[in-house]
Amino acid sequence: MPSPEPKSKILVIDDEEQIRRALKSILGSRGYEVLLASGGVVGLDMAIDSTPDLVILDLAMPDMGGLEVCRELRTWFEAPILVLSVRSSDAEKIEALDAGADDYLTKPFSAGELLARIRALLRRAGGRAVPAPVVSAGDIEIDIAHRRVTRCGEDVDLTKTEFEILALLARNADCVVTSRMILQTVWGEEYADDTQTLRVHISHLRKKVEPHASVPRYILTEPGVGFRFSTH
């Protein structure tokens, strides 16, 4: 396991003490510097004072809703935001992603899941400096730098758009990538709402890279949100 980015600073905003304590011990023991905030207002102040590398934000908080905090943060804050949600608040989760959150975790989650998401988000944030050269999952391998995709060792012929979508998903492997983000990155800002076009391309992409003709294993749909490239 590669060691985490040295001393990445993570701000945890959650009103529940147990969760803060658990996160502190999990993250602290992995070498991260952990800051704890017990509410939205305090959290925003701490973010301004300490400019963390990543924020973990609980959506359900009494003083200031997580959604609001997220919007507020995004006015100036560029580092990743990981949102914590509960099972029954799918709609809120989607709103948070729209408001600029980068990924979400549903409570309860395991330490392994949490750390994987954090690593992926930090990698994505620092991605321009250290591009992930090769992403592999099962029998497919995506060499982003050389724009090459192979399945069982054989080249897969992708169009430019298809490759860019796949590369974006692969760079954010195991993280959700919103439809809006894909559209903005691949097509440009003015196409941000054209989800239908995206679906058609995703469908073609799946036909080319997925081992099973109709049941995707790598490029998974996150309903209402976007897509996720799964390496598990």
Binding site: S88, D90, H212, T221, P223
Partner: protein, 525 residues
Amino acid sequence: MAWFRGLCEKHGYVFAALCIAVSTLVFIPGRDYFAKGQWALMYLPIIVLVAGMSGVRPALLASLLAFLAWDFFFLPPYHTLIVSDPKDWISLVVFLIIAVVMGLQTGRMKDRESMALAREREATLLNRFSSHLVSQTTLAGMAEMLLQEVCGATGAENAALYLRKENGELFRAATHRVGGDGIETSSALGIAEWAGRESKAVGLPSTRRMGKETESWPVSIDAETLGHADERGIFLPLHTEESMEGVLYVGPRRDGHSFSVHDARLLISIANQATAYLERRRLTGIASQAEALKESDRLKSAFVRSVSHELKTPLASVTATVTGLLEDDANWDHEAVREELSAISQDLDRLNDSIGSLLDLSRLEADAWVAQKDWYELGEILGTTVSRISAKQRHRIEFALPEDLPPIYVDFAQLSRALENLLENALAYSPESESVYVGAADSRDGVRIWVEDHGEGIPDDEKARIFEKFYRGKSAEKVPSGTGLGLVIAKEIVRYQGGTISVTDAKPHGARFTIFIPKERQENR
């Protein structure tokens, strides 16, 4: 011919007088050709005719008239009632006796015959009515049939049925009209209320009486006088000893006549049957409501019992393990601690599953899980679903989806949850060496999706019960986890999407769960 008989019956006395008058006029010109005594004999068949057509009383009138006519026109001196020959007195008396006796005999026969006919008609009608009543499952059907029969049997031009609402007020449940203008609604309801409250039959007086007797309007009538009531319509309360079920309104006869005694008796019989039907229906309703309440109570307590069991078992296990680890007197090596912790982790997973299932179920039951439908490929739903299943089990799942399966209009998260539950069950209830198959087929009416395992299968007597809350099949003991809610949630979700879920046997053994998502529903939304 029947109308003529009817006329003779109705106006028997007129008919009798007419018969004697006409025959006398016919007889007079032949007065001199026959002996005076023979004319008496000539009258006898006429009397028999009257008796046969109109019954006893008109026959008696005919006898008396014939007696007078014979005396007046045929016994000298003519055109007086004086009889010159004393022997003729004896003939007269004997004639009267014979005429009366014949009239009585024939008339009685006639009366019996028509009564028997009426009874038979009545019995047939009531029979038909009661058999129809039994076959009626809806109140509307029953009301329609009742009113039709009433109009048919009594010749009423219209009829209406008033039933009680929950608050006891009456409302007009159905009307039937053969002819006429019908009845004014607002006043009719008032009279119906009154008839129902007083448990008295009420008649609307005929128009010609109404002007004079406005003060006693409406007129209360009892069952005995019903037949002779000269009314525009009758309100009959449908009441039993304890309750009033409604009011039956019978409009005036189409031919303008008042109801006969037979009609009245028939009406009362029909009303009684209808009352019994309505009462039985109401009581059954009350009984089944009570039954449903009891059942729901029973389910609730079973629910609470199962919930506390589902939640407390893993919690108890975690508590025991953790407190055990915290005890000072035991020596735990690193490996043993890991083992205990992984057991705790499993218990917590189970606890999370249970709570999640309960949450899903209560959201579904409270309609709080708002479906967000869109068009999706079944394959992408399955892909996301399978990614949530542990990697260890995932390879056992095999897919057989047709390439050209059309997209389906569903809530992704919900259908995914239903499929996940079916898949988890299929994996848990079949041996590790067996695959689990997921298939789908498109048809004109909708899309079928099935999950099939080759485990032991589900016995026929359990097939219906497995969709009940917390029911776990007999083979469930071999399966450690499971909340007994998976199939209930799947069923609720599928129902919520407008579809159905069913279970059949797989070949050679095992179970196949099929979700059906109808098409026309999809396109309408």
